[in-house]
Symmetry: C2
Subunit: 338 residues, 2 copies
DNA sequence: AATAAAAATACAATCGATTGTATTTTTGAA
DNA sequence: TTCAAAAATACAATCGATTGTATTTTTATT
């Protein structure tokens, strides 16, 4: 029942069986007889043997582990993606190392290095907001290392991306407000180095176009979309002429803006209708409940990790650039009801 | 600029310098001359050398990595604790592997095994709700492996725990409701195999006692405290005679209960006042905003990891049982205002 | 009983870095 | 210039598991 780092050699000595046979037995190889296996299993249990994965990984040059880097694990969207990844990984017999970049490019670089020096078999990454240069990733990608971007795509070079159709989502959200009768719709936008925010904005302008409303850059407020940014944006918005709708590129900013506007006697949705983005759990609970875009988060995790495992199994895929686009859906709640 | 798994031996060959010297140079040992170091650094950069941590860890038997197991990374409390842990770890030069048990004892066991077989130097764990038996941890603990429990303590055997004073928190929350004039206070309680829920309940009963109100087991509703459980509890609560206050052992259940009661025309806090537990971000945003107990989450992460690093450095500490108790604070919001 | 084929087991090298010891080179004092 | 001490470098074993090859044992066939 003891445990202090028992090795296959301890089992080997205890039984007078070569360590190679012990190793094979523990891996259930059919080169070892049933009888011997049983002896070895018993002795292993008795000594409290536990495989040293480091040695195993070193020798085989496979870690059966993938790394996942997200900006922040506490964000509902990312933790749902991770849930999807973990489900697929579990079935494939892989371990998952979860890391958060906290939106810092420095941390992100360090995490990539750490994961690689621990010889993970592949990496799934949603890049930080600060990331606009991909040197720290490109190099590995070019060497055929299995690396997949999700949610925040990287189209600089040949890469595999799993994203949602942000243009369509932006279009649907804005069109919904237009259908409702909004004429002056403000867009809370995020950092434009992230393609995803470019796309949501593109969806917004496309919709305006489609409905014959002229686009004005004055109605776009670009921030980091944090809680404080939402309040600031709401403040600005009150100085704009007769705004009657807001499409926010995330829920966080939309919610804090709504909270602020309510203190200023602005009626939501009567005076200003809101649509957010991400379907954070809180958006269903606040008052008024927030219309928003639901992203297939869990599915995204499954799709991205499935692709990654294919690349790991069959390295040639790693070279092939492919982009999977998942479909978002608009959820209409009180913040934009007629 | 290539990278395909360059080793110290490649550098060694390229320069005609022994690999042991290369290794020492890369670790900045003073047994290597400045001139040689420079040559080695340059060649390493040129070849795109990256240390193989697996080999290093195997040889040194130290991984400079700790494991953290929490029930769920998406819970605000846990992600804040993790932030505290990561800050301390970063300063100490340690990597952190984050894992979630999803409240499943099976997953928890598997995670512990995986972490150990990857030879982490220590583990910080907040046990799952299902965990009532500690065999999978006790064994290692007894062998002097650095292992610290946080938030959800384990007092079965000699262990190090970092917890908050749940009895005091429960007392303060309940006393606050009593001061407000509540006479029939219901307690939403959690699984009693977790000491933390026992303690919150104890605080509740202590407060009733202190204020001369008789305790009745009928007023305690024990669930898993998930969203659905809150709704169910609220339903039950309506069948109880003149309930005028609720102390919920977490925010999630309190919030869903409030949402449900509002649909039944119950006025919060006029008819029933609420105090939750954990100070989830959402609790400040819902209406009415929820009074709750703020736990020093970030600090808990720092304290727990600091203790762990002490144990890792100085193994003898690992044997010493100590419990750190952090102080919670009551945050009064609209759900319990006069 | 003899022997070829098949099964089981043993031998030995290897993965990449580290580290105690041995050897060579350099330095500086006599 | 000589030589001991110090500095720099090389040698070789090691961490624990895996795996190709060699050897031994068992099985089955004639």
């Amino acid at each position: 029942m003891k445990n202090n780092n028992v090795t296959i050699h301890d089992i080997s000595k205890a039984l007078g069986i070569d360590s190679s046979t012990v190793s094979r037995a523990l891996n259930n190889s059919d080169r070892v007889s049933k009888k011997t296996k049983e002896k070895i299993f018993n002795k292993a249990a008795e000594l409290g043997y536990q495989r040293n994965s480091l040695a195993s990984k070193l020798r085989t040059n496979r870690s059966n582990t993938i790394g996942v880097i997200v900006p922040r694990i506490s964000r509902h969207f990312f933790s749902s993606v991770i849930a999807g990844i973990e489900e697929t990984a579990f079935k494939a017999g892989f371990d998952v190392i979860i890391c958060q970049s906290l939106e810092s490019i420095e941390r992100e670089k360090k995490l990539v290095e750490t994961l690689l020096s621990n010889r993970v078999d592949g990496i799934l990454i949603s890049i930080s907001m600060e990331t606009s240069n991909y040197d720290h990733l490109d190099n590995y990608k070019k060497n055929g290392f299995p690396l997949i971007f999700f949610d925040r795509p990287c189209n600089v070079s040949e890469n595999t991306n799993v994203i949602i159709d942000d243009v369509k989502a932006g279009f649907d959200a804005t069109a919904h407000l237009l259908e409702r009768g909004c004429k002056n719709i403000v867009h809370f936008s995020g950092p434009q180095n992230l393609e995803l925010y470019q796309n949501r904005k593109k969806g917004y302008t496309n919709a305006l176009n489609a409905y014959g409303i002229p686009f004005s850059e004055d109605l776009v407020i670009e921030t980091q979309l944090m809680q404080q940014d939402g309040i600031e944006a709401a403040r600005q918005l009150l100085n704009l002429p007769k705004v009657d709708g807001v499409f926010s590129a995330n829920d966080t900013a939309a919610i804090s803006a709504i909270q602020y506007l309510k203190t200023k006697q602005v009626k939501i949705p009567k005076d200003i209708a809101f649509v957010g983005f991400s379907n954070e759990p809180i958006s269903a609970i606040i008052e008024p409940s927030l219309s928003t875009i639901n992203q297939p988060d869990f599915e995204m995790g499954k799709v991205a990790s499935t692709l990654l495992f294919e690349q790991i199994k069959n390295k040639k895929y790693a070279a092939e650039n492919q982009t999977k686009i998942l479909k978002p859906t608009l959820i209409i709640r009180d913040s934009s009801k007629f």
